[in-house]
Symmetry: C2
Subunit: 143 residues, 2 copies
């Protein structure tokens, strides 16, 4: 018999029960059907949805943005063009985030490599370009 109570859902997704209700209020989760007693009954895939929300948050999306992302799957044929436009915009956001993270990754990778291969007398190299993704001039200040 499919259907989760709020407690089962919360523990499967690794979130607090209150957080589930909070997401429902914020409309990141659809209002689920209820039992006669008023208990929420969630579909099994609500677990995936919750996990997606947590992942997306860790990537810097706000709950509002995540709601929009999730909203992209609920559209009717009439709104297809609008959905495509929103998806395209989100895609651009995601591309930008990936590019920025890749810059950070490159700099961190160089730092690790330089630290591994440094000659004993050399000081650990300064991570000069971390502070400015698109600029590169730097000197060091000792706090």
């Amino acid at each position: 018999m499919p259907g989760l109570t709020i407690g089962e859902l919360a523990s499967r997704a690794g979130v607090n029960r209150e957080t589930v209700r909070y997401y429902e209020r914020r409309r990141l989760l659809a209002r689920p059907p209820r039992t006669m007693a008023g208990y929420r009954v969630f579909p099994d895939d609500a677990v995936d949805r919750l996990r997606f929300i947590r992942h997306a948050q860790a990537l810097g999306f706000t709950l509002e943005e995540i709601r929009e992302l999730l909203g992209l799957r609920l559209d009717e044929r009439s709104s297809c063009e609008q959905v495509r436009a929103r998806a395209t915009r989100k895609l651009a956001d995601v591309e930008a985030k990936i590019a920025a993270l890749k810059r950070i990754r490159r700099v961190l990778g160089r730092l690790v490599h330089a630290c591994e291969t440094r000659r004993p007398t050399a000081p650990c190299p300064i991570l000069e370009s971390l502070a400015a993704p698109d600029a590169r001039a730097r000197k060091e200040e000792v706090q």
Copy 2:
């Protein structure tokens, strides 16, 4: 003549003056030298540092994590091994973020493409896999 007042710095970096002071308290910015009157005098590259902070925040790093990232450039030769370890850990964080964003990108890309190529009578396709980042890539999950 190098050196910025807090107001100049804030407007160049596009942040609030109070935010600059807040970051100084949180030690994301070094305490700058002062004039005789007690005014802060920031080096020009503080602008880059502030911009980096904003970028990193948009990518889901907390201020504390950003402080650590920025701290990687201030090390002395004595702490090289420790710096390498921290950089390696951060690198793993960044890799994970990139991987998660790529999953989202793939799904969004498919959605856009499907919307573009759908036949007029077909309903706009449902983005069913958005709620579960990637069925294949999800057996273990660490946060």
